[in-house]
Amino acid sequence: MSGTIPDSAIVVAAGDLLTSEFDRELVILNLRDSVYYGLEDVGARIWNLLQKPVPVSAIRDLLVSEYDVDPARCDRDLQGLLAELVTRGLVQIRERG
């Protein structure tokens, strides 16, 4: 999948995953490929937001309000993380918007 995920796209954590908060790190086990992933800090915060279907814009807006970060930079980083999560099957795009 190439190209950015539209602001209005709805994203959500995939099923068939096991997770644990462990030592200030969020560990995710993808049962479909038996691979473990770790997310920390902001990544873990974003993951919590993804537990229910949510528009990409809502995640970005929340991060900008919660963290002292430049919106454009936040957008880039968020896109990067979401793209990787989607590629690895941890996040689904419900509607492209």
Partner: protein, 176 residues
């Protein structure tokens, strides 16, 4: 070969059956885990399982577990659980190479469910020992170490280890 046969024929009929069942299931599971995702292997072994176990609410180590070896009882549920535990351990020893904790746990779950128990499959992670080369760096995290085990009626049936409490249990996420 002759030695193994002699030992096998010396077992009680029920134990021999359990052992052969465990050997067959472990062999299939080991192959399955190499070629299929974990979720698919589990669906094959335990078709009725559905959701993955939730584990303790806080994802932390369980409490109230007996660390004692399972006591053998004359019959009844406790005895059956102990025999399944024995069969899987014995079968793992007989199979060539290593039989992973995961394979043993998946087979234990199936064998116990088939006998009317409610086993709980647990997958846990902890940070393994920090490699010597990384110790000086404050930023690197020790690699993740995973373990799988099965609890039944508050006892660890397979996968018991002295540091089991160090593992943070993974649980199925909340989905909207």
């Amino acid at each position: 070969m002759i030695e193994t046969w002699r030992r096998l024929s010396g077992l009680r009929v029920e134990d021999r059956r359990l052992l052969l069942e465990a050997v067959a299931l472990l062999a299939v599971t080991r192959i399955g885990l190499r070629v299929m995702p974990l979720a698919a292997v589990r669906r094959l072994l335990v078709p009725s399982a559905g959701r993955w176990p939730g584990g303790p609410a806080d994802g932390g180590p369980r409490t109230g577990l007996s660390a004692d070896p399972i006591r053998r009882s004359a019959g009844g549920a406790g005895g059956r659980v102990e025999r399944v535990s024995w069969a899987i351990t014995a079968a793992s020893r007989r199979l060539p190479g290593t039989t992973s904790c995961l394979a043993q746990a998946l087979v234990a779950e199936r064998m116990l469910r088939r006998r009317g128990h409610t086993p709980e499959l647990r997958i846990g992670v902890r940070h393994g020992p920090m490699p010597q080369s990384e110790r000086r760096s404050a930023l690197r995290k020790a690699p993740l170490d995973a373990h799988a085990w099965v609890e039944c009626d508050g006892v660890v049936v397979v996968g018991q280890r002295a540091d089991l409490a160090d593992y943070g249990v993974l649980s199925a996420g909340r989905r909207a």
